[in-house]
């Protein structure tokens, strides 16, 4: 295996031994096997020569020889630089699930020269300094053996999409390997421009999920700067409680603009939640729940769930109301499936519910949920009308900072 640091600044000669300049950079094709395409050679007058790798006779640790009748070529789509785009930059280690810096780039020579992966270890830095052999000997003498920390090309993703020429379909496939919540954490280490580039190559649904997990500062900036149509699309796909948090930090003008772009049902939901935003549980209450009439049959309820809940991120319980729309019971999906198709639901629903009110504090709600082992709790007003629900994963946010 060959390292970029071993080639960098190496003198480049033609086959009749005329000095061309020093190797400054290499380009490669962003693809599954990232083939090296060009040598960037800086000549003595400071110009950069773009020499295709097909003109090289030899490229290894000892020397770089180029054919004398070489021709230069322009950069093409999908080409990236090793020095400019990869070395010393931050990448996502897809397996180790963290952000690291590239200390050196490893090249494979057979069957042709391509980028095998990156070295993120101490050895990579030492190699860049030219101290690799010296230091590893020194450390070996005190019993420490240094090894390369190698990540293969398939397992990394540059954290910045700074290159306009790359066709981004390839990136998207790699990004599918990362969980949205992790991607959000990584992206928080870069700037808003870069986050927007990433979101652009993701489909709307995944983009909304990533935005869900971003820090609210980033969410606000995103909605301020994105095209309103796109912002509205993302808002409609986000978890309602997260979307409302972000919306309520925007100026009222911007908020109205975005609300107008939502379809009427979503807009009503958002406006409703925005009104609740001032209550103690405003930031965690959501309207993603389903309630049905108590005289419905199991079959009817199942079909209603299929029709209405495909956008839900979580559905633990079905709530049951009477003719006056008052909450009278609930059951979970397991109980529902166990029953016969024609059974009316009031026969098996749980009538005595643990409920919360808009004035309840988050702590009380969380305590209730833990005590009665609920994954969600309905929030009702004085007339027992459901105002929304609080799910455990939202309520748990309250204590999450204390755990980490």
């Amino acid at each position: 295996m060959l390292y970029f640091s071993e080639l960098r600044n190496k003198k480049v000669y033609t086959e009749d031994l005329i000095f061309l300049g020093k190797l400054k950079d290499l380009t490669f094709l962003a693809s599954d096997t990232p083939k090296i395409t060009k040598l960037i050679v800086r000549n003595e007058s400071g110009e950069d020569l773009f020499i295709p790798v097909t003109y090289t006779n030899r490229i290894d640790r000892s020397s770089i020889i180029v054919k004398k009748n070489y021709l230069q070529e322009e950069m093409v789509a999908n080409e990236l630089f090793i020095l400019k785009n990869l070395l010393d930059k931050q990448i996502i280690d897809l397996r180790g699930n963290k952000v690291v810096r590239v200390n050196d780039v490893a090249l494979q020579e057979q069957p042709f020269l391509y980028v095998a992966g990156v070295d993120i270890g101490l050895l990579g830095i030492l190699r860049q300094l030219g101290l690799e052999i010296y230091m590893s000997r020194l450390l070996l003498s005190i019993g420490i053996r240094l090894t390369s920390q190698f990540l293969s090309w398939a397992d990394i993703q540059p954290i910045e999409l700074a290159y306009g020429r790359v066709l981004l379909k390839k990136e998207e496939k790699k990004l599918e390997k990362i969980k949205p919540e992790d991607l959000a954490t990584y992206l928080e280490r870069t700037n808003i421009l870069n986050i927007r580039k990433f979101l652009k190559i993701l489909d709307d649904r995944t983009a909304a999920e990533v935005v869900n997990f971003l820090n609210v500062n980033f969410q606000t900036s995103l909605f301020r700067q994105s095209r309103p149509e796109r912002a509205a699309k993302i808002i409609s796909l986000m978890d309602p409680d997260e979307a409302v948090d972000a919306l309520s930090t925007l100026s009222s003008k911007k908020r109205e603009q975005l609300l107008l772009l939502l379809d009427s049902e979503k807009r009503k939901e958002m406006q409703y939640l925005l009104r609740l935003a001032k209550t103690p549980i405003g930031s965690i209450i959501t309207t993603e729940y389903i309630s049905v009439d108590s005289d419905r049959s199991v079959k009817e309820v199942l079909s209603e769930i299929r029709k209405k809940t495909d956008e839900f991120s979580f559905l633990p319980y079905v709530y049951v109301t009477n003719k006056e729309q008052q909450l009278i019971g609930a059951f979970d999906l397991h109980e529902l499936i166990l029953e016969d198709n024609e059974t009316p639901i009031y026969k098996f629903m749980v009538p005595n519910l643990v409920v919360a009110h808009l004035t309840s504090s988050k702590e009380i709600i969380l305590k209730k949920m833990i005590k009665y082992r609920l994954s969600a709790i309905p929030v009702i007003d004085n007339d027992r009308h459901i105002q929304g629900i609080v799910t455990l994963d939202d309520a748990i946010q309250l204590v999450l900072p204390k755990l980490s």
Binding site: V100, Q128, L129, R189, I192, N215, T220, R224, Q225, S404
Partner: protein, 415 residues
């Protein structure tokens, strides 16, 4: 009033949301080393040294604002950018100098802490280990929010200097006048020296690193840039507002009565006969607080810089397991510095001198990077330096570079 509140409510809330990093950084420039320097300057030159305060405030505001702008716009720390644009070799060089210089400054702060221990009759070992323990506990266990609150709370103790200054019964008219008009300045080598020393403890390499890292850890976004800039100017003002009172307190007592100070840490005791018990106590309390601020912030700076240069997790929000290197480096500095201070044989003068020299060496490089980054369109987009601003920034950098090298060279020549 209510009308005003509702009109500006959003803006005030936005500003408060942004508030923190720039003010904390600027205030930490008044660390114990800073307080000692101001006390010495006030004792030696009286009110006349106040003339440099406004220029220094401007310089601090401009240089910090560049860092703030880079951090908010690019979302990257100085370490990140240097590594990505100038490679590993330069990064290691810069980091090594920063590490040693910061360690030196932390040592200076620990030594001030030791001095206050003696003043308050607390065993130095006990106090120092206590500070190390609690600093480590709060930084590892506390979130960003908690720690930011603690730092901001620390600012309150700087008001102690206001009380000290008032108790010293200074000539306020004279003091204020000297701020704007060079009335009593007797230009001498020593005066220039003192002026530059004040500048050198206020504008520091670590300050430039810290403000960017701390903003990034807060996830501030470009749409709030205006507020961050406003905060930077406020922070610079607040810092030198306190400096003013520190200088006045020693000028009104020690200078007026012709008492010479051998070291800045002794100032609190020295003003006692003239300003009274309470003023002396408050002055000591201020120094104690400044030392802790310095110790924590500067050690944190090195840890942040390391994680930026070498790409490891670096955030005070990170749990201990993920940020072992980050927290480890923080603790290492606390322990190393306190060990050195507790050893009786270490010459503190030498430590402070070499630290100053390293900072003087580092500062030109930092300003080179700052100017490079703030003028780079790819990085900054529409937020590059305006032309006029650029000239001012370059002039400011040249003044600071010249000043800090002057101190080092002339100290070298006179020893």
């Amino acid at each position: 009033m209510r009308f005003l509140w509702s009109k500006y409510k959003l803006r005030i809330l936005l500003f408060l949301g942004v508030f923190g990093p720039a003010t904390i950084t600027a205030i930490s420039d008044n660390d114990a080393a800073g307080v000692a320097t101001y006390s010495l300057a006030g004792a030696q030159f009286g009110y006349s040294i106040l003339i440099i305060l406004i220029p220094i405030t401007l310089l601090l505001a401009v240089t910090q604002e560049m860092g703030v702008r880079i951090a908010v716009v690019t979302g990257k720390g100085l370490g990140d950018l240097i590594r990505e644009r100038y490679g590993a070799v330069i990064s290691i060089l810069i980091f090594s100098i920063l590490l040693i210089a910061n360690l030196g400054t932390v040592i200076a702060n620990f030594s001030a802490l030791k001095a206050t221990a003696t003043m308050f009759h607390i065993p130095p070992l006990f106090l120092i280990l206590g500070v190390v323990f609690f600093s480590f506990l709060f930084i590892t266990k506390g979130s960003y929010k908690t720690n930011q609150r603690l730092f901001l709370f620390g600012i309150i103790f700087y008001f102690a200097y206001l009380f000290s200054a008032f108790n010293s019964q200074p000539d306020w008219g004279k003091a204020t006048l000297n701020l704007f008009v060079p009335l009593d300045v007797k230009l001498s080598k020593e005066f220039i020296f003192a002026a530059i020393a004040v500048l050198g403890t206020t504008i520091t390499p670590w300050g430039q690193f810290f403000v960017q890292s701390f903003i990034i850890d807060k996830h501030l976004q470009p749409d709030k840039l205006k507020f961050s800039q406003l905060e930077t100017y406020f922070g610079a003002f607040l810092t030198d507002f306190f400096t003013f009172f520190m200088i006045v307190a020693t000028a009104a007592t020690l200078y007026t009565h012709g008492v010479a100070l051998t070291s800045g840490e002794q100032a609190a005791l020295a003003i006692k006969p003239f300003a009274g018990e309470l003023a002396s106590l408050l002055f000591g309390l201020g120094l104690f607080n400044a030392a802790i601020m310095g110790i924590v912030i500067i050690s944190l700076t090195t840890a942040y810089a390391f994680s930026e240069f070498f790409g490891i997790t670096g955030s005070i929000d990170a749990p201990f397991e993920r940020g072992k290197m980050f927290y480890g480096l923080f603790l290492f500095q606390l322990l190393a510095a306190s060990a050195i201070v507790l050893l009786p044989s270490v010459s503190l003068f030498a430590v402070v001198f070499y630290t100053q020299s390293l900072n003087a060496l580092l500062l030109p490089m930092i300003f080179f990077f700052l100017l490079k980054f703030t003028n780079n369109k790819d990085l900054m987009g529409i937020h590059t330096n305006p032309k006029f601003y650029n000239y001012f920034a370059i002039a400011a950098s040249v003044i600071i570079i010249f000043a800090s090298s002057f101190v080092v060279v002339s100290t070298l020549l006179s020893h």
